[in-house]
């Protein structure tokens, strides 16, 4: 193992996280390389020195502040919550059900009796004729009926 390959493995060697094969390879290199052996020793020393920093405890107010912030968080609403029972939804549903029952209980409208239908059937040709005549083009070319003439005729008859 070359010294440059040591770089990736030296920390693992110092903190004992190397695999057995890698560790043996490293030890073999260290037995012949003074510079790397020195570096390993110094890294170990750094590792020990880092233990000297004290642990800081969070302030007494930390928990209280945290709980207050969590309590102030708005409740998360998902769309399933829309289906959650509520008095307003229950009231609206019951009103809708009542309206449907009321509409269903009304007597059904029976607009035409059998006699009326017979009468319509009898007059159906007249209606059909009316449809034909109202759209009959030659008739539209005729002059309008002379109503005034009829009226003057009537007056003359009365005078006679």
């Amino acid at each position: 193992m070359s010294c440059s390959r040591m770089e990736k493995k030296i920390m693992g060697f110092v903190d004992g996280r190397l695999k057995e094969g890698e560790r043996l390879e490293m030890e073999k290199h260290l037995s012949t390389c003074v510079a790397c052996r020195l570096r390993v020793n110094e890294f170990r020393a750094v590792n020990v020195l880092l233990n000297e920093l004290p642990i800081i405890e969070p302030s007494a107010a930390f928990d209280v502040r945290m709980q207050a912030r969590v309590a102030a968080e708005p409740a998360k609403q998902n769309w399933w919550a829309w289906f959650a029972p509520s008095s307003r939804v229950a009231f609206a549903a019951s009103m809708l059900a009542l309206a449907m029952v009321w509409l269903g209980s009304r007597p059904a409208d029976s607009p035409l009796s059998a006699a009326d239908i017979d009468k319509i059937n009898q007059n159906l040709p007249v209606l059909e004729n009316y449809d034909v005549i109202s759209d009959f083009a030659p008739l539209s070319e005729l002059p309008p009926p002379a109503q005034n003439d009829d009226a003057s005729d009537t007056n003359q008859n009365q005078q006679m």
Binding site: M11, N47, V70
Partner: protein
Amino acid sequence: MLDVKAGDEQSFTLLLHRYRTPLVNFLYRMVRNREQAEDLAQEVFLRVYRAREDYVPSAKFTTWLFRIATNLALNSVRDNRYQRMEISLDAPVTADAEDGDEKMPDVAEKHPNIEQHLIEETRRKMIRRAIEKLPEKQRAAVLLHKYQELNYGEISKILECSESALKSLLFRAYETLRVELAPLVAQQSRQ
């Protein structure tokens, strides 16, 4: 975390109690300000709480937690840097202003000899400053590796880099620390 997801508020309190100290320590070493570290730790927990319903246990909870914390810390360090540049280039915030944050509660009882206490305090200050001098990503790697004892796989997920890149990052960080702490390292090596 799965209990928190299921709506168990007590489990969130347990998570808070279990992880608040490591989180505050990690963030303090990253941002170098206790008040800010606590604010960031609260932000981390709040994000965990908000995301509880969407939590998928694809990775270890600690990996997820420290990933949020690291991202917040790195953003905060960058923001602080710009803020300091805006305030004054001549009067940067020094680590001395924060030295009072790490108080040993029973220093007098532990060290009746004031000289011994001063020596230890000086050593701690040197170590703290050496860590603070590291580039933020190297600093995060050292803190997660040394103090949180996370494995390479977890740390590389947190820092979003390959394991190989992480090993290089740690090597460079320890190289810098070795140089910065040379007097202490020599002393330690002799012991």
